[in-house]
């Protein structure tokens, strides 16, 4: 395949960026999107140009490192991560726009790489449980009802990639935060911090400069792990419950 790429190039956080156009040839339909970018970078390096910086790690769709808004869609046209997106989803002669996640809480560091440490700080504010250390407890020591376990697992699938924020017209992190809150709040292990968790994580999310939720549903459509939109309603319920219970 022969493709035209229009890629966001930005030297560093301070300097303004712009879209740059590149031609790539001999792209196999079996390549992943990141392998296609590797091909481009090899050519750029050989030509003495600066390669395009982009985030990637496991390339198995489970680590949440890769990002990229491809033709206006977070992670591109398929419902998966960019590393699991293959070039067979495109046609010979296509022009593909590649942009970084856009949100003021995700500032661009270089080219397509953004700083997602705001997510880490949301996790630090409450995305944990208090557990005694020592030998691992027996797996059946704390019974968990099957529907609760399923609900927790559905939300635990979130890999924290930030596609929800990138897709949201308000740059809101509600789907990410709700996935993390719901995952722990439904389980007995998460019960001691049930109220403080949701209050602290929502407060941190606001402090980081993410926008509010207008329930456009863009986040759930973009999520490569299929975190459902009602997840947000479930967190709102937890938040309202916590404001009634906790006096601050």
């Amino acid at each position: 395949m022969k493709l035209t790429l229009r890629v966001w190039r930005q030297r560093n956080a301070e300097e303004p960026g712009a879209m740059a156009t590149y031609e790539v040839d001999n792209i196999s339909a079996d390549m992943s999107f990141l392998e296609m970018l590797d091909t481009l970078n090899e050519e750029l390096t050989l030509a003495g140009d600066e390669p395009v910086a982009f985030d990637h790690d496991c390339r198995e769709g489970i680590c949440g490192a890769c990002s990229l808004v491809i033709n206006g869609d977070a992670h591109g046209p398929e419902r998966t991560t960019t590393c699991q997106l293959h070039m067979r989803s495109f046609s010979d002669g296509d022009t593909i726009d590649v942009e970084p996640w856009r949100a003021s809480a995700f500032p661009v560091i270089k080219d397509l790489v953004v700083d997602r440490s705001s997510f880490d700080r949301i996790i630090q504010s409450g995305g944990y449980i208090s557990a005694p250390t020592g030998t691992a407890p027996d797996a059946h020591a704390t019974p968990v009802p099957k529907p609760d376990a399923d609900f927790a697992f559905e939300h635990a699938e979130c890999i924290g990639c930030g596609a929800c924020v990138a897709a949201c017209p308000n740059g809101s992190a509600m789907l990410f935060t709700s996935a993390k809150v719901n995952h722990l709040n439904v389980l007995p292990q998460g019960a001691p911090e049930r109220e403080t968790r949701v209050l602290d994580m929502v407060a941190r999310m606001d402090e980081e400069g993410f926008g509010g939720c207008t329930l456009t549903g863009e986040c759930a459509t973009a999520c490569p792990k299929g975190i459902p939109l009602p997840s947000i309603a479930a967190m709102n319920k937890e938040w309202l419950r916590a404001t009634r219970k906790v006096r601050r």
């Binding site: 033709n71 003021s104 949201c168 308000n170 926008g211 456009t216 009602p230």
Partner: protein, 222 residues
């Protein structure tokens, strides 16, 4: 708890949801009351008079009506201020737009902000037109039936009203379902029910309100 509500994006949305549902309840009552115009001037004007005597003898004349009005003003202000502050925040959270544009979200969802502004402007017009009569050409207090007919006998009266009602329908369609999510009532199994309810509410309110100017224009009500 008040501070927690007002300082949080989730809390402000809760305030918007509660005030929105209150205003929605008022809209339903208002729409049903409007339909009395199809039973003639006696019943319509009589109903308008009853709105002023409702609550008597516990309440004084017009007191109940003023309580409702104060509640509505509070709801509009809280809803509008929250929406303004949240919108400012949302725009700041996404300063850079994507170069590659694509259509996003449904029409009702995308028009919430402009629709809300249109509705706020319409409320001013509507009160000046049919409550105080300031912008009305031949307003007579105590004769709402004739006042309504006069308003809908002008082209601009019809245009302003119908545009506002359509904006209201779209606002309610996304707003009702949204409020349910914000208040934590929504979940996967109830989603279809809530969406259907929102569609029915929006359709019934739109048709109910629009039926009055259409009836005047077609001469059904004269």
């Amino acid at each position: 708890m008040t501070r927690t509500l007002w300082d949080s994006t989730v809390g402000k949305k809760t305030i918007m949801a509660v005030t929105g549902l209150f205003m929605l309840g008022y809209l339903v009552a208002h729409m049903v009351g409007n339909l009395k115009i199809f039973f003639g001037p006696g019943e319509f004007d009589g109903y308008a008079h009853w709105l002023r005597t409702m609550g008597e003898p516990i309440l004084h004349y017009e007191w109940a009506l003023w309580i409702v009005r104060v509640g509505l003003v509070a709801a509009v202000v809280l809803h509008g201020v929250s929406a303004y502050q949240l919108s400012r925040r949302d725009i700041k959270a996404r300063p850079a737009k994507y170069v590659h544009k694509r259509p996003r979200a449904s029409y009702a969802t995308r028009t919430m902000r402009w629709g809300g502004i249109i509705l706020a402007l319409f409320i001013f017009w509507h009160i000046l037109d049919l409550t105080t009569g300031t912008v009305h050409t031949s307003f007579e207090a105590g004769h709402p039936y004739q006042n309504v007919i006069d308003t809908f006998s002008t082209w601009y009266g019809n245009v302003i009203y119908i545009v506002a009602v359509l904006a209201m329908g779209l606002h309610v369609q996304h707003g009702f379902w949204s409020a349910a999510q914000t208040l934590g009532v929504g979940n996967a199994t109830r989603d279809r029910l809530l969406k259907t309810l929102a569609n029915i509410l929006a359709a019934v309110l739109t048709l109910g309100f629009i039926s009055v100017p259409v009836a005047v224009m077609t001469g059904v009500v004269s």
